[in-house]
Symmetry: C2
Subunit: 219 residues, 2 copies
DNA sequence: CTCGGTTTGTTCCCGCGTTCACAAACTCTT
DNA sequence: AAGAGTTTGTGAACGCGGGAACAAACCGAG
């Protein structure tokens, strides 16, 4: 339907707009201007308008956007109108939290299986699902048509898990393990690095503390 | 020699380089070329060299980089040579996982307190720390000199928590709640949005499935 | 000491993303 | 119906980051 490709930066913001629209909808707001929506999403209004213009002309000049209609259009563009079965591998503390995270299930993402390499945990009940053996990955992917895999294992195991995922047919991976994954062409990997985020904050915090940039002072 | 500001994109990659250097060090590698380090970090070697050049001239032409020396320089630049006390607010599934996450403590980040608004949970032991009441935030921040706060509450509570954090003197916030935070000038917020990441993957996955021109892969 | 091989640091260029500013288009009032 | 007031969609300018290519610098051999 959309002939032109949507810029990557815009795609990354669409989920934010979607959340803002949901908030407006809960407050019974029927229409909104680009200014309102932009402020709810924490971005510039010009940027918002340009982002939305990549999807099509869904607004009305002099009026604004129909919240319900725009929400549907963005959902459809992202692909949330369809069902996305997801597999989570590595049910440690983080995997446990992800399995229970309501933000996934409420957005069209359905966790169909929790896998762990530690077979002593097989059968344990987490978030209403039984933990299954990692060896069942290929069968589960095939059975449910899983396209998205989540890695929440320790760093040492992540590459191997990714390899098995790719071999099983998964083409999109969300990686929480603090390691760079090597995957073949055509496979998307998004990395969420908790430690890096803190380090980036620390860098800026350090900069705030010292008014002038100074180096050479070594302990 | 060049105390110029480091580009934001470079800052975001420094933690990745740091991890790669740690891996090399564990394998008893003394020196490495930009090519080696770049491949370990999953980036282009030209990009790596340009990034490092912003810190200073820490390499030797014809030889490469001293792993240990470079690791120290990056650590110092990010500010990991000092101690960063951290407070985590919201000890649900995610907060629990964060409190136990070893990637924090092993990088100079020290979790000094876990807070939760639900006072029935006060005193509960998580990751060796007792959960304390949210009302103690200001005192804890003042006592330990906390500059970084982590929000792992539900979305509805996040803004209020952020406001209290800012009032208590926290100037860097890592936000896991799926909502945009409004903070005054001078306060940094980094957002980690688990649901958005999945949605971005879904968008690309949908694109792969459709017969349209297969476009770039984000690796 | 000189020369060849190697690798860094840097310069130049290009493409993407952001922002401004404005024309186009719609509503409402008179 | 026409004009005033809004608000969207977009064209253009601008700045930042990425990648290739190259000069500068270092090591080792003879």
């Amino acid at each position: 339907m959309s002939p032109t490709r949507i810029p990557e930066a815009t795609v990354a913001r669409l989920p934010v707009y979607l959340r803002a629209l949901n908030s407006l909808l809960e407050a019974d707001t029927r229409t909104c201007s680009s200014e309102e929506l932009a402020s709810a999403a924490g971005v510039n209004s010009a940027k918002l308008r340009k982002d939305l213009s990549h999807l099509g002309s869904y607004g009305t000049r002099g009026v604004g956007y129909d919240v319900e209609y725009l929400r549907y259009q963005i959902s459809r563009e992202i692909g949330l109108t369809q069902d996305w079965p997801v597999v989570i591998v590595g049910i440690g503390n983080l995997g446990h939290a992800l399995a229970n995270y309501s933000g996934f299930s409420s957005r069209g993402f359905r966790t169909v299986a929790l896998l762990d390499a530690d077979d002593t945990r097989t059968g344990e009940l987490v978030a209403g699902l039984k933990i299954r053996s990692f060896g069942e990955l290929a069968a589960i992917v095939h059975e449910h048509g899983v396209a998205i895999g989540v890695i929440a294992t320790p760093a040492a195991a992540a590459q191997s898990v990714a390899d098995h995922m790719v071999a099983a047919g998964i083409r999109s991976i969300l990686n929480f393990a603090p390691t760079v994954l090597a995957v073949p062409e055509g496979v998307d990997v998004r990395m969420v690095d908790l430690s890096s985020e803190l380090q980036i904050l620390a860098y800026h915090e350090q900069r705030k503390a010292s008014p002038a940039a100074d180096d050479g002072v070594v302990a």
